[in-house]
Symmetry: D2
Subunit: 337 residues, 4 copies
């Protein structure tokens, strides 16, 4: 951590700040210049809130230099982590090809879609049972009944299932039945829920919050890892910007940046990012070329009747065509599934 003092700070004030630093258990190294004086603070600064020092009358600003995360940090774990999702490896060149309807609507629907996406080449099935909806009046999902339908589709196809957990109350059931537990963008900083995830060893798919910085996103993964579950997969799904033509702005720079900061797999959800079905295939190709470890894509057998987000779902035929193209790009960027 670095403390920058105000111009013309007296020795007395300088010494008071140094003492403050030392009482926090840090070593203080002073660098003096004509126009500025800085104090380099050495030690474990992870637990220290820089704003504590900003209250001092002589302090101009305080800057963190060390990353505040450890378990997720690539610096302490150089090689890619490969997560095992019920037999499907994710990371280190192995891709999660997750597809399925935004929400589970009926057993028949989810089984039909499951068979179609497996046929096309998907290796995991997604489907929403508990749906986070902006409006209390919108369809909220079929809940546990929907989860049962997903399990039936798994029996039929053998595809591991991915679905969203919105409350710790259902964690035990998810632990028993769900292969990859999704935490949605709106719960990325629901710290109470994150801490509870240590109670399961199931892999967690952590979506990026709509306005989460890379660091905040990793810190949420760190919460899960610190609670005892190190099987975390990060999922970029678009961030909120001033542009409203698309639902969100897909940030593909997140892939190379996150891979530099952490050792965890990074997958992409192009369906929610753009919110328009005709953007999905193009952005899926772009995400693959950018090195994603997986693609989560909404596929619906009858989008115009979808109870939610039909407008961003692909028909199974289109999904099959997309996977054909992805298979041609994959070897160039050394990915496989």
């Amino acid at each position: 951590m670095i403390i920058v003092l105000k111009p013309r700070t007296t020795e007395e004030n300088l010494n008071r700040v140094i003492k403050m630093v030392e009482t926090k258990g840090l070593e203080a190294h002073v660098v003096r210049g004509e126009e500025m004086t800085i104090i380099g603070c050495i030690g474990d600064t992870v637990r220290i809130d820089p704003r504590l020092f900003e209250v001092d009358q002589s302090v101009d600003k305080v800057m963190h230099v060390q990353e505040p995360y450890k378990l997720a940090n690539r610096a302490f774990h150089p090689e890619d982590t490969i997560i095992d999702v019920s037999g499907i490896p994710v990371g280190g060149g192995h891709m999660a090809m997750i597809a399925g309807p935004c929400s589970v609507e009926s057993e028949e629907q989810v089984i039909d879609v499951a068979k179609a996406v497996k046929e096309a080449g998907a290796n995991m099935l997604r489907g929403g049972a508990f749906k986070p909806r902006t409006s209390p009046y919108s369809f909220q999902g079929l809940g546990l009944e929907g989860l049962e339908m997903l399990c039936r589709a798994k029996e039929e196809t053998g595809l591991p299932i991915v679905t969203e957990l919105m409350s710790g109350e259902y964690l035990d059931i998810f632990d028993e039945k769900v292969d990859l537990i999704q935490i949605g963008a709106r719960n990325m900083q629901n710290f109470d829920l994150l801490k509870q995830l240590g109670r399961t060893k199931r892999p967690i798919l952590l979506k990026r919050g709509l306005n989460a910085t890379y660091e905040e996103w990793i810190m949420s993964a760190e919460y899960i890892m610190a609670s005892g579950n190190e099987n975390v997969i990060l999922c970029e799904r678009g961030v909120r910007t001033f542009e409203t033509y698309t639902r969100n702005t897909l940030d593909l720079q997140a892939i190379p940046v996150l891979k530099k900061m952490t050792h965890l797999p990074v997958v992409v959800d192009p369906s929610h990012a753009g919110g328009k079905w005709w953007l999905v295939d193009t952005m899926a190709k772009a995400a693959l070329a950018a090195g994603t470890d997986g693609l989560m894509i909404e596929v619906h057998n009858n989008p115009d009747c979808a109870l939610c987000d039909g407008g961003q779902s692909l028909k199974p035929e289109k999904y099959a065509v997309l996977l054909e193209q992805l298979r041609r790009i994959a070897p160039i960027v050394e990915k496989t599934w």
Copy 2:
């Protein structure tokens, strides 16, 4: 809801879209022009996702015209709602003057601050017992022990207490002991938690999410109201923008806008918005002039030792001076406390 068709849409396609509209239980009114044709959809469109229609090949775009909220809507409830917080009215000219430490650190600390802010003129005491922290390694609050300390401070001063609820698990205890239950910015769209709030009649202080639009914020209030608890107070605490000099950008336009859209009280938290103690008094005055129904301000008897956010806390003396100035502005904008 309005559906805009693509240029040169055939009669056949137009009729297909009309049928789609009617199967959703809406009336379709067609407006034809040379360059565009639109369909005005009449009926209860609140439950309908516009993206459902966007999947049709002939549809260019779909626009909502009706607000998706009802209970919180000023249109159906023209006069200001006044919320009673254990005897303190909030709204309709009555202000909530909430002050206290960011986190409860000890019984002595919270009682000292409580006495000081009451002396200065505050009418409610705030203090964090459960703290949402970006890092799992930061101080997480004293929890139930901290809540007990707040209760002791209430016994000593008679000030109603305001503190944050992070999990439904503690709702019953909060229902029993907390006068105004705060839902933090990061949980604004924790829909599972919002729905549970119907189990209490205690007023809820709903903070705006860092990237929540006015409508999304109101929709979260609508969740709480629809679940059975109509005692909701909205709290603007700054939004996230590209500007990083301040922690967040305080959006004071939110006050007049929210008062036009809803009948609920709107209070402001200038301490978290700027993240700097020297911005608090200026922005508190601005918020009052903009018509806020309350001010939530961090006050700490010894900011440099605060376990969290010391950098944005005022000393009790400064808070007292600020209230003096606010008392001079209040009558001009017809506010009182």
Copy 3:
């Protein structure tokens, strides 16, 4: 400037970086820690691009600690600058009360509005002659003819005039006739235009760009000052965020922050920020309470027929009522006009 090295950097690499620093004419002070090593760079770093060092394989990140601006810097000029606009002082407690139509439409219109706002208490007249419009098909303003109409209104009322300059081509005419030359938000980083402003001594009203950080905004003022014209007034007019209900988000924290960073006056334009007439009076009061040095407000005698931005203009009567209220708040924050 501070250079943070990657963990486990060798002495050899460290020395290479030190040499790089020294070849830029800076002194290098090394601070060593187990987990990180930093180099404090002393000297005039204003001209040095930190990214130059980031290319080195051993460098993790580079941080600037010195402000990159000098002439506008409060640190080197502690007292408020007061700008004289043809006899009207702006800054240091003196307010610029600027009012008038968004665009000049006719001599009669601008003279009528000028008389009305003067009567209400305005001390400067605004009116757009050259209009920056997003669409090439929108009304672009009356140009020089409009400028002449403003001059006639000035003769009639004695009010100094404020209008926007969009091109260096007209600078000489503006220098001769305009009392306060406005540079619009979209030209805030039109560096070619900024440099030319040194050719006049007329005060410049520099609007904040829609996505300009405080520092970038000050750097644009620094461009004007470095070119030879130190008479710069800053104007906050709202920034672009994810919120689209209002045209922009008015950032009133900009007032206290800019006053801390610079010695220049800061005025506010509440009309363009919200884009809605019913937000203007509330936000004008808030801006005054936040310590603004002036208010630029759109007033039109017949908003429904305005050729541009009628929706955000006040009628003269409403403007008069607003000034009455502002007169009651002004003394509390030690402002006068």
Copy 4:
């Protein structure tokens, strides 16, 4: 254009609004519902500012349904436009591979880089002669002297040159010597400059403003086209968001979206977007997979000594390796150069 009236609007008020619509030369079609009444306005609404109607007491909101651009509109020009840049076709499957130093520093430097990038497979040379810098104290480019050096490099290599125009003052020289005239992000809404571009027939490379919506960006292209020069190429270079780890957030969804809205070529500048050299190759591949019509990449023979943006420049060897990989992806997305 659609006008939504407030609930319970009287016939009298409805008729007043209808009259207002008709006086603007539009046809008014009324759609009545219990909860809302809307007026569909038919006719040429491109020139009409919706805010004109919002001033009416009975109007709730006004929505545009027609795109405000014509010449750039894909609807009126279905096939891709192919721009000829001194013999190099851009668009419709043909890519502009633009490479070179951020700024021209010496004749030797620019000729060396030009030869190296041509050797690697680039088909155009970029280099900054006039540099838009945030600070008046930063290197501002070699100006006309730099332009001469670019011309020498063109003589040596035959590569068409691309460089930024910051002022209309130099338009004639650029018209004579520059093959592709770049307009920078900060001048995207310098409307005075845009209008002057009609004086040349040289193709224009229009960079997206840091906070420009797709529509605003297209409207700036429309300005150039309406002024008489239809040879416009759009360039995505990242937008400003809350994320500060990268210099900007590259918006690759812009490619498919812009291609749907307009018929103009869309190229991508991955160097400026991320601001970090190690992000360039990954994002260049992603942009190609997303269907870009070109890539503008900074290449410097000695990045650590670059006078500007060295940190985001590739060495010629790395650029050659990148082009090898791009050649393998290109046929899959039907691109060639």
